[in-house]
């Protein structure tokens, strides 16, 4: 059997966890301390008989001691550690980083997925991200609460919500979460897991990804210049999405820590300052194994869990591939509730897992369509999926997010670029035109004049109807393929076919694009924490020059120009300015304004039933709708004409006009009965005056006001 870890380090940690020394163990086993020491440094291994005795002493079974895939349960059990309040009396009533975001699953999808993308392990393969919504009720919910030691947490929640005194944003959210769980017996878990990612590597306390995510705020360990995030803000969305401020983590590491890689677990609770049982707590709490080596003996550290624990905590990973699972306990979605106005019930229903599922899928498609696009032998950067369970049973099966669903034309543009399947000028639908624009990348250190030339790529294709929102927009991105800017292209003339355009700069412009690396670095420096534009930043000013951001403005202008050149007809050059100016005021056609006449209304034709009778005449039965503002004193003349392709229509005079209801026939015209809202009459045309056989005609029936001139 392959052991997860060498016996020596494993035993050393078990002793440390149990608070025993090597001497203690030696005495208990009736052996020398030197023998124990030899096992720990790996010079020798104990005999089977001795191993059985050790298992007994550590209160574990032989299986564990042989596989060493988990820690023995001896010593302090996994539990909650709440950080004590600050000595100076300072209080934090919430996590500032979490307040920077709306509690919104689409924001979560954006930030968490960006973190996964940035943590991609093998750059030749996509990072796989899966969102699992799991709604727990009844028995399943009770089991989960037990697994997270809920009874020990409850006093802390009560302290925040019970008094009703400090009704701040955080405690209101918590109260709503608790209500949802207790009154409706319902808890939504949202697990975000990635594969082919680095996992939370590094020490529990020192610098490293683990500490950056679990212990620290605003610490970004991202060093790669291509990374999308760099401020360490994004992870706060995980906690912001939890109504209970609770996130459990299971990570499979890409580099072993303590000789292990799989099932590194920790939980983190983010609550405001509180007082429980006379003790004050600063805010955060951790769910882990008390660390005997820490300054305060009850500080919780991550532990290597067994498979059963992982399963009970809903943190099972599908394979040993490195990556991290975040379990958001009590996930909610504020934004999806916003547009709903109505009673309490409908609001609650809109927080359903089905709705969150749809919104997650949509947000992934909208934000990461570019990262998910593959083609021309280029793997996608990202593959994402969403699935939903209820009490362990599938509610919505796993759906792989297809970028072409939400962004068909932009995805087509990028794919055509990757496959080298672009054209110079657009001549048919579905084509993707490619143009090049130059960005002069300034040099670091403030040399104003010189620069590295970079060729950015502009892609333009026709917009697909209705799915992508507003057309005629230019989306800009660099190597991480994250949409930084989505702006409308200015000065597009009326009548231009709707299009979507993509600007690829830096590494996104392809490995062969000149100056790609320099451009990538330059643009990253010009990107603010929101990643929503390129412009002046502190970093840009310091690392380049105060005027460096103008190069970006120039790039934008050139890119818009390139797009316009591809989609719009330039203003005619043949006329001189004066003529053009005058002519622009003298236009005919093109406007379709339908002004309703303001005066007396006419009855309207509601329905016309027509047939050709045995004599060959048109016999029509007409229903009229009479609005209240119709002047019933004025006679109405129905007129029938033969439909023609163009030119004057031959008249079809009536031979017979009979009132059916709501009107009377007087002198060949209709008199409406006052007060009647409906009227009906029948008319038969005069066959002797038909220019052609009725069978081969179409008939137009109209109403005229006044007595007709028609004979």
């Amino acid at each position: 059997m392959e052991a997860a870890e060498d016996f020596g380090p494993w035993l050393a940690r078990q002793l440390r966890n149990a608070g025993k020394s090597q001497t203690d163990l030696a005495v208990e086993l009736g052996m020398t301390r030197a023998a124990v020491s030899a096992w720990i440094v790996g010079r020798s291994v104990p005999r089977d008989e001795t191993i059985r005795r050790i298992a007994e002493l550590l209160h574990t079974d032989l299986e564990t001691i042989h596989t060493r895939s988990a820690d023995a349960q001896l010593g302090l059990p996994v539990s909650w550690y709440h950080r004590p309040a600050h000595d100076d009396g300072g209080r934090e009533y919430g996590n500032a980083a979490a307040f920077a975001f709306e509690a919104d699953v689409s924001v979560l999808a954006r930030e968490a997925t960006q973190n996964s993308l940035d943590a991609r392990l093998d750059p030749s393969r996509p990072v796989r991200v899966r969102y699992t919504l799991h709604e727990l009720t009844g028995e399943a919910l009770a089991r989960f609460r037990e697994a997270v030691d809920w009874e020990r947490l409850l006093p802390h929640y009560d302290a925040l919500t019970a008094d009703g005194g400090r009704q701040d944003k955080v405690s209101r959210t918590i109260a709503a979460g608790l209500r949802d769980m207790y009154q409706r017996d319902r808890l939504v878990l949202l697990r975000v897991e990635d594969y082919n990612a680095t996992g939370l590597t590094g020490d529990d306390y020192g610098d490293g990804l683990f500490a950056a995510v679990v212990r620290r705020q605003l610490d970004s360990q991202k060093k790669d210049s291509g990374a999308g995030g760099s401020y360490g803000l994004g992870k706060a969305t995980l906690w912001a999405t939890s109504r209970l401020g609770l996130v459990l983590i299971n990570s499979t590491l890409s580099e072993p820590h303590e000789g292990r890689t799989e099932r590194r677990l920790i939980g983190r609770l983010d609550l405001p300052w509180r007082e429980v049982d006379g003790r004050e707590f600063a805010g955060p709490a951790w769910f882990g194994r008390p660390d005997p080596n820490a300054k305060s003996s009850d500080v919780a550290r991550s532990w290597w869990a067994d498979e059963e624990t992982v399963e009970r905590l809903h943190l099972t990973r599908e394979s040993g591939e490195p990556g991290t699972s975040f379990l958001i306990v009590g996930a909610h979605d504020v934004a999806s509730l916003a547009p709903v106005t109505g009673d309490e019930d409908s609001v609650e229903d809109d927080d359903s897992v089905q709705r969150m599922h749809a919104r997650l899928k949509d947000a992934l498609g909208r934000n990461f369509w570019a990262a998910m696009t593959e083609g021309g032998g280029h793997e996608a950067h990202l593959k994402a999926s969403v699935r939903t369970y209820r009490n362990g049973a599938i509610l919505i099966p796993e759906e792989i997010v297809d970028p072409a669903d939400t962004q068909p034309s932009r995805t087509r543009a990028l794919r055509a670029f990757l496959e080298g399947d672009t054209v110079d000028r657009l001549t048919a639908r579905g084509q993707v035109a490619r143009a090049t624009v130059r960005l002069s990348v300034p040099l670091r250190g403030g040399e104003v004049r010189s620069g590295v030339p970079h060729e950015a790529v502009v892609l333009v294709t026709n917009a697909e109807d209705d799915v992508e929102g507003r057309p005629n927009r230019l989306v800009s991105m660099r190597g991480n393929r994250m949409t930084v800017k989505n702006s409308s292209v200015p000065n597009i003339p009326i009548g231009t076919n709707p299009f979507q355009a993509v600007l690829l700069v830096g590494r996104a412009a392809g490995p062969d694009a000149p100056g790609a690396e320099a451009a990538e670095e330059f643009l990253r420096a010009s990107e603010p924490p929101e990643h929503n534009k390129w412009g002046q930043t502190e970093e840009l000013r310091l690392a380049y020059s105060p005027a460096a951001h103008r190069r970006i403005a120039t790039l934008t202008t050139l890119a818009n120009q390139a797009v316009r050149d591809l989609v719009a007809v330039p203003r005619a050059k043949r006329r001189n300015g004066g003529e053009a100016k005058i002519a622009s005021r003298l236009k005919v056609g093109g406007t379709t304004k339908k002004a309703r006449p303001s005066g007396t209304a006419m009855p309207e034709l509601d329905n016309v039933d027509a047939l050709i009778d045995e004599t060959g005449a048109w016999s029509v039965t007409v229903d009229l709708r009479v609005a209240s503002n119709v002047d019933t004193d004025r006679p109405i003349t129905p007129v029938a004409k033969f439909d023609v392709r163009s030119g004057p229509r031959p008249a079809a005079p009536w031979k017979e006009l009979v009132a059916i209801s709501g009107c009377a026939v007087v002198d060949g015209a209709l008199r409406l009965t006052p007060g009647s809202r409906k009227a009906a009459f029948r008319g038969v045309t005069d066959v002797s005056r038909h220019p052609v056989r009725a069978q081969l005609t179409g008939l137009v029936v109209e109403l005229r006001s006044g007595k007709g001139e028609q004979a």
Binding site: N497, R585, L586, K587, V588, G589, T591, T600, Q695, Q710
Partner: protein, 334 residues
Amino acid sequence: MKVYPYRRLTGNVSWRVDSAQLKTEGEPWEDVESKYVSTVERVVALGPNDDRPDWTQARLRLSANLPAKAVDGGSPWQDVKVVAVLTERATNTRTAVELSPIATDGRELTGELYLHRCDLLDRATLAVHVVATVGGVRGRVIATTDAEWFVDVIETAPSLARELDVKLVGFESGASRLRRFKDSPWVVDTTGRIPAVRVNTDFDGLEGLMGGEGGNGAEKTVRELLLTQMCSEVWTAVFHSAVGDLEIEEDGTPLFPHGWQGEVLRAMLPDIHPDRDPEDALREIHAARTGTSATGWGELQPRIHFAASKRAGVPRTLSTTIRDLERLTQGDDA
């Protein structure tokens, strides 16, 4: 409301011009850029421009989508065909082409329509009809799409709206027909394909004033006023021209003309008779002009004048001018 003695197709028949190609004698077909084929305005602009050959023949690729019931087995229609018809009124050209199905269900169809440059003088209209055998009668139209396209062989930009033909020319030195107007700042000629406006450059200083940019405050104010006055006169002239040449049905009903005349009438009638719908207003105006109505032609002139000056933006410009003038005189006092 129209009725027919046979079942017609209800539902949406959508179609579009997908792409266009041009051919010059002895040269291969050349693709027209999509920007000249506007699906928004539904106009194909094939007018001459710098990077376009002097073409003799054009080819339009069309595609159409039929509602499912058109091709259902149980429908009353047999032998359903979709035809695209190009018509040009000036030359009376009529070209039809049948679209052929590309999918097995027969609902998606495509076709290519060829047209010759020499057949067309002005804008041609392109429409799609669905025809079928109904009750033993062949070739009955069971649906005509609402959406018409225009093929424009004059303009380079695909736009539904058309600008009048404005030129700055010297009347005294120019064509003989303009010489007798040499003291006039501008003339309007409504006899052509589209109304022509000629501005007299031999009128001293007029070109600089009307065609110029910027200038001082007074100059701008006068230019603006002058332009609106000219536009007002132009609209009055084109309205009279349009209303004076109507086709009349046997019962005396005037028909809306095609082309710019119809556009001008539809745009201005709501201001002349705001209480009537356009057809009714046109009948009323025609009756007034031909003396068959109680309202005389003379009584209608203030309304026409009002509609023209409103369209030219006279009231707005005048208000601005008066305000500017006050500011200018105040500046002089200071």
